[in-house]
Structure formats: C-alpha cells, structure tokens
C-alpha cells in the first residue's frame, strides 16, 4: 500500500473531525430536547407520588430578584417541572438498587418488596422519647380516677427484622419498650407478642402504617387488657392497589400493591372532624386518590369527635398519631363518644376534654412518638 499523500492525510483528518459531530449533537439533543419538552408540557401543580405541591413558574420582580427568592424558585421550578419527572426519579432508584444499594431515600429495601423507614441509633431521638414518656406519665398521674392506657405500636422493622437488609443498623426498640413498661406497667398495652406471629400481615409493605388486620389484632390485646369483649369484627377489602408513603420515597416501578380493608359494620351516628360532619368513619372517596390509608377517618385532624350512638355511659379521649385512624373503628360499640386529638395540630387545652372522658388512650407508633415534639401540650394549662 502506498503512503497517503499530504492531501489524503488532511482529508482523513477532516473525516476524523467530522465524526466528532455525532457526540456533540447527541448531547445537545438530550439537553435541548429535554428543555423544550419541559417548557411545552403543561406544568403540574401536585405530585401525588411525592405527596407535595410542585413549584410553579415564579414571578420575576425587582424585589424577588434582589433577595434571591426568584432564582431559588426558578431552580426548584426547572427541577420540579422537568418533563418525565417521575421517570427520572424511578430510573435513579432502579439504578441504585441494581448497584446493590440496600436503601433509597432513607428507606430500607427489604425482602419481597417490603420497605422500611430507616431509623438508626443516630436518627432515633432517645432523649425526646424519654421526655414524651414523662409527659404522658404526668398526664396519667393527674387523672387517677380514669382508666388510662398507652398503646405503643411496635415499629414494623422491629418485628420484621428478618426482612430488613442484613445488618441494617436499626435503633434499639427493645430498650424503648423496657423503658415504657418500667414507667407504665399494666397501663402500657404491649402488642409485641400478639403482632409477632403473623407480623408480615400486620403491616403494609409499601406504607409505614399497620394494616387493618394489625389494628384488629391490637384491638384484641386492648380488649383483654381493659376487660372489654372482643367483637370479632368482619373485615372487607376495599382496595388492592394501595402504594403508600414508603413507595413514594422509593418509587421502584415493580413495587408490590397492598390491600386495604375496613370493618364495614363499624357504624356510627356522626363524626365531626374540625367542624366537618360526616356519617361514617370511612371516607371512601380517598380510594380514588393516591393515599388509600386516608380512607380511615379521612386523614388527620386536630380534633375529631365521634358520636357512636352506643349506650355504654362511657366516653374515651384518644391522643394519637395516624395509626389510631384504622384502630378506632373497632371501639365504636364500647363508648358513647370518642374524642380524638392529634397534638401536631391541636392548639387548645387538653384538660377540659380529659375531664369529660371516663377513659384515656394514648396511641402512637414508637418512632412517631419519639419524633413528636408536641406531647408537652398534654399538660399545658
């Protein structure tokens, strides 16, 4: 073969350089294409997957420009309204799992598509937990004439340790229960033994709550502890397509679906949720939306007053987190009225409401309880 002459070499070099157009065009196409697609697709107001409102197009004024709020919002806007936002997030999760990550977005990826909120010895606030226990203790001590109980729901990860990733650094739940029992003895309703045998059925796989079956099992323990009759409520599945809060954090497309059941026979006379009155404990409209757990009492309110229509002469004050929402329907035949307080939103005095009740139930899931900074409201005059 003859050596290419000078002109040939130049031609080859030009050919070589021309080829480099391809990667440049490819990169430009991705960036400009995505930019155009994001601008052309209509903005979304709410992301059901992430359960939050998305940033809308920010208004440019001299003030917002100079104080930096415009640029901050513009950054959030381009990230929030990017075309195929959910697809990008799902891809990131899929890649992380494929790379062997055992957690995504502070959520442990457990066995069989079960997810767990990541709570480690360092993120669990043991000091706040102790303070909150002391607040409940003070509250109970101020009401010696009432039947006061505290029901601390075990964190799913505590009972499903074998489903956690190997060696996942879970906080010390047993120590927390020891502390609880030391402070409250028989006033504490210990659910661990009852929930352990079928723990996998007691909690959702994609949501941080317990299932209605879990709540019903707890109801059985509560009946035994407080001397009520277990009424063996009939359960009925109302959704088989529930993907809960933990799914929202993980967004893996092959996540399983959970089944949501209700106790259809738990009828009441009326329920007043911060002024909105309804005739049922169940909000079936919630099944049309993403968070099917909202079917239970329609979500969380500062104060809910349930008029059960029963004639027992007894009334109950419940101080709770959202775990109580699926539990309370089981109590409708045991009390005439049930007053339900969520201290995160409740801003009035608790004492007058306590005075009107014969029994008190404090119901929280353990990590929720430890993270809540509102328990002081119990004893605020």
């Amino acid at each position: 073969m003859s050596q290419p002459d000078k002109g040939g070499a130049r031609l080859m070099k030009r050919e070589h350089q021309r080829r480099e157009l391809a990667p440049l065009l490819a990169i430009a196409l991705v960036l400009v294409g995505l930019s155009a697609a994001s601008l052309l697709t209509p903005d979304r107001e709410f992301s059901p997957n992430e359960n939050r409102y998305l940033q809308q197009r920010p208004e440019l004024t001299w003030t917002t420009l100079m104080d930096g709020t415009f640029t901050k919002k513009a950054e959030d806007y381009t990230a929030d309204q990017i075309a195929l936002r959910d697809m990008w997030m799902e891809s990131a999760s899929v890649v992380q799992r494929a790379a062997g990550r055992r957690e995504v977005n502070d959520t442990w990826l457990g066995r069989d598509g079960r997810y767990f909120a990541k709570v480690t010895p360092d993120t669990f606030d043991a000091a706040q937990y102790e303070k909150n226990l002391a607040q409940v203790r003070t509250f109970f001590d101020a009401h010696p004439d009432k039947d006061c109980r505290v029901m601390m729901v075990p964190t799913p990860a505590c009972l499903l340790r074998d489903d956690l990733p190997a060696n996942a650094p879970l906080f010390d739940a047993e120590g927390c229960f020891d502390m609880l029992l030391a402070d409250f003895a028989a006033e504490a309703i210990d659910l661990r033994a009852a929930l352990t045998p079928n723990a996998a059925e007691m909690y959702y796989r994609t949501d941080h709550h317990w299932t209605t079956q879990g709540a019903q099992t707890a109801y059985g323990v509560w009946c035994a502890a407080t001397g009520h009759t277990d009424r063996s409520w009939r359960l009925e599945a109302v959704s088989t397509t529930f993907r809960g809060t933990l799914y929202s954090k993980v967004l893996l497309p092959d996540s399983p679906y959970d089944t949501v059941a209700i106790a259809p026979d738990a009828a009441i006379r009326s329920m007043d949720c911060d002024g909105a009155v309804s005739g049922s404990l169940y909000d079936m409209a919630a099944l049309e939306e993403k968070d099917h757990y909202k079917v239970f009492m329609g979500g969380n309110y500062a104060k809910v007053v349930i008029d059960t229509g029963a004639a027992t002469g007894k009334s109950l004050l419940v101080v709770k987190d959202s775990f109580a929402n699926s539990f309370l329907p089981f109590l409708v035949k045991d009390y005439d009225t049930i007053t339900v307080l969520d201290l995160r939103y409740f801003r009035e005095g608790v004492q007058p409401l306590a005075d009107g009740a014969t029994d008190v139930l404090v119901l929280y899931e353990l990590t929720n309880f430890a993270a809540d900074k509102n328990l002081y409201k119990l004893n605020k005059s």
Partner: protein
C-alpha cells in the same frame, strides 16, 4: 449557579451557547461577560458589584503599571502593584477572614466584638487569585496590559472556571481571549469532557458524600465505620473537585479556551510530593510562582527552604477556609513535604512500589480527615474512633455492602485504569465504531446524571465556599 443543576443544564447552557455562536466573533467576549455575570449573580445578585469592581480595579492597575513601565517610572509601577495586591487581598480578607479574626480576638481577649456575619461571595478565593496573577504578570513584563476592558471582564468572570477553578492565569489564555478559534471538534470533545465531569460529580461524589455525612453524624462509629467514612470523604472530594475541573475545562473547549489540567490522577502517587504535583495543580502552581519562588524557593539553603515551605503551606491551608483545622491541614502537609525533602524521598525511591502507594494513601486519607472536620473536639473524637474504637460492627458491614459497587467504581475511577482501558479498546476499533461507542457512553452518563439530579435531594457543593 452550579453546573450540576437542571437550571444550568436545561436553560443557561443551551441559551448561552446559542447566543454565543450566533453572535459575530467580536461580540463573543461581551456575550461571555454578560452570561458570566448572570451565572455569578444567580445566587447573590449584589455581589456582581464586587466582580465589576475587581474587573475595573485590575484593568486600571495593569494599564497604570504598563504606562509607568513604558515611561520608566519603576517605583510608581511597583506602588501600583502593591496597591493592587493589597486591594485584592483586602477584598478576600474582608469577606473571608474578618469573622474568623474577630472570633479569635474575642476568645483571646474576651473582647466580645460582634461578628459581621457576611456571606462569602462565591468563588472569591479563586477569582482574586486569578486577577492578581494578571496584574503581577503585567508588572513582571510577562504579559502586556489588556487595552479592552471587556476582555479583562470576560477573563475575570469567565463562568466555566469562575466559582471553583481551575485558577486560570491570564498568561495562559491571553492569546485566546483575543484570537481564539472555536471548532466543532473542540466543542464536541469539550462537551464530552463536561458530561464525564458531571457524572463524576453527580453519580459518584454526591453518593459517597452522603455516605460520609451519615458516618460523620454517628455518635459512636466503630473503627471500620470511621475508616469507611474517611475513605468516602477522600473519594467525595476528589470526584467533586476533579469533576468540577473536568466540567470547567470542557466548557472552556466549547468556547474555544484551553485551560491547563488541574488534576492528574493524584491518588496514584507514590509520594506526597508527587501527590501535590498532581492535585489541584493550578493552586500549587499559583503558590509556587507568586509566593514560594519570590520568597527565594530553594535558592538560599535548606533552612530557608524549609521556612519557605512552611509559609506557603500555612497560606495554602488558610486559603482553603477560615478555620484553624485548615491551617493544621496545611502544616501537616508542610511537615510531610519537608520530611520527604530531607530523607523520605530517597527511602521511598528504594522501597518497593506498593510501599510508596500505601504510605501516600494513608497520608492523604489522614489529611482529608483533618480537612473535613472543622471542629477540633469532633476531630479528636473521629480520630480516636479510627484508631481505638471496636474494630468492626454490623453497621460497618451494612454500609460496606450497600455501597460496595459505588466504592469499587470510585476506587477504579480515580486511577488511570479506565483511560488506559479505553485507549486500548479504541485502538482496536475503527474510527466510526469508536465514536459511536463514545457517543452512547456519554449519552448514558448524561441521562443517568439527570436522573440522579432530579431524584437526588442531596446535591451539596464542596468547593462552593472556598
């Protein structure tokens, strides 16, 4: 603004590039200047004023020095140079070190002076060094004073390297500021380099960074966990910073500039001396040219050289942040470099290769621990965890397994291995096949980076405040 954000990738970059290439050549520096001011003012608009002041200040001083030079007034030229250096260091000192000084005076004299609480103008440590290099080189007669203030403005504010380097000296881009030729070939290579840098930052640095943050927040890590944390930070700072330099150099190519390399796989070094020739090269070069050599370098005997090294490394440490741990970090390297000059280099030269690697790796990992933890009591706790805590626990195993792929990628990625492998593959492929493979590669990296950017709430920026 940072490169690793959707606002930069989807809006700023496409718009700037479009306007830049649509404009005639003579308008392009103005386009760069305006775009850079938007880029800079994005976070804190009022600090654009400092930028403009720097431009006018150094432009004027350089012109004055040039004028006095040509009229033979050496003393006046020197006076202007001193004003320029005092001015630049004054700005840097005022914004970066005032509160640190007040804090120290307060704790020494219990004076109770209130802190100013100024937020640090982004990249101030980088651009004050750049502008000083310009005026000093004019004084030294290495470059001519630039007559067009827009060119100086474009140089000072040039957004690719504005907020985190590399520290581009005026003399290296003087010609390109006025006569550069952009080309499709250069732009393509540049954007590919940019994507690789973006992937280093988003896919590796951010991920190992989250691991480091998690471990740093632990109250009682085991020794294995603490070492894992130190290694994670070691990877984070390399991939964050060298990724940023890749992005800066790549964007430079897009607009026809050639910045000097800033990193040459420093973690492969066999001595600390070599490490510092390969890590943040533009900073070491700056300190060598503008501090070490003017101080006399190694020309006045061993004792003076050791003193000079100590001074340079005290300042290098302090440059990295207004906190004593950075000074400690600088002095730590001064000590290592002096020991190497005195005898260690000779020993290491005779030792098997792996000894040098092991020694250097241990040195820089320990260095990064000093660097990462600004609080001395926390630093003490962390070091004691590394050396005296229980050897390993379940948490260490969990973190290691959960991050195994990431750590292996990082370990391989900071060596020359991937580059060598690619060169061998490319040599066997036809030209077209190699370009196709590269195109697929960068597109995959770009898509993955966007996915992680959108999905990732964790996107801090290590060198943002330097």
């Amino acid at each position: 603004m940072v490169f690793s954000s959707t606002v930069f990738l989807l809006l700023f970059l496409p718009l700037t590039a479009a306007v830049y290439f649509l404009c005639p050549r003579r308008a392009r520096n103005t386009v760069l200047l305006l775009a850079s001011l938007v880029f800079y003012g994005w976070g804190e608009p009022k600090y654009i004023l400092i930028m403009l002041f720097s431009t006018v200040f150094d432009y004027t001083n350089a012109r004055l020095i040039g004028h006095f030079r040509t009229t033979g007034r050496e003393k006046a030229a020197k006076a202007v140079l001193i004003v320029d250096i005092v001015g630049n260091l004054g700005i840097l000192g005022f914004f970066k070190y005032t509160d640190f000084a007040i804090d120290n005076i307060n704790s020494l004299l219990s004076a109770g002076i209130p802190a100013l609480g100024l937020s640090l103008p982004i990249g101030i440590s980088f651009y004050t060094f750049q502008t000083m290099s310009y005026t000093i080189d004019v004084y030294r007669g290495i470059v001519k004073p630039q007559r067009n203030i827009l060119n100086v403005g474009a140089y000072v504010t040039l957004f690719p390297q504005l907020i985190a380097g590399p520290i581009v000296q005026y003399k290296t881009v003087e010609h390109e500021l006025m006569f550069r030729r952009e080309s499709v070939f250069e732009a393509s290579r540049g954007m590919q380099r940019f994507v690789v840098g973006l992937a280093k930052k988003v896919l590796i640095a951010n991920q190992v960074g989250a691991l480091w943050e998690e471990i740093a927040a632990m109250s009682a890590p085991s020794a294995a966990t603490a070492w894992l944390g130190a290694i994670a930070f070691t990877f984070q700072i390399y991939f964050d910073f060298s990724g940023y330099s890749d992005m800066a150099i790549g964007l430079g190519h897009l607009f026809g500039f050639h910045f000097l390399e800033n990193f040459e796989h420093p973690y492969e070094s066999r001595t600390v001396t070599e490490f510092w020739r390969r890590w943040h090269i533009s900073l070491s070069t700056w300190f060598r040219e503008y501090v070490y050599i003017p101080l006399g370098g190694n020309r006045h005997g061993k004792a003076r050289q050791i003193l000079n090294l100590a001074i340079v490394w005290f300042l290098t440490g302090l440059w990295h942040g207004a906190s004593w741990n950075f000074v400690l970090w600088g002095m730590y390297y001064a000590l290592l470099l002096i020991l190497e000059k005195l005898f260690l280099l000779r020993w290491l030269d005779k030792a098997p290769r792996f000894v040098g690697h092991l020694y250097t790796i241990l040195c820089f990992i320990m260095g990064w621990v000093l660097f990462a933890i600004t609080d001395f009591s926390q630093l003490g706790q962390y070091l004691s965890a590394m050396f005296t805590a229980t050897f390993a626990d379940g948490t260490a195993l969990y973190l290691l397994r959960s991050n195994a792929v990431l750590l292996v990628l990082a370990a391989v990625g900071c060596t020359t291995g991937p580059l060598r492998l690619w060169n061998r593959v490319e040599a066997r492929l036809s030209d077209g096949a190699a370009v196709t493979l590269r195109t697929v590669g960068v597109v995959v990296l770009l898509l993955l980076s966007i996915a992680f950017l959108v999905g990732d709430s964790y996107n801090p920026f290590l060198y943002f405040r330097f």
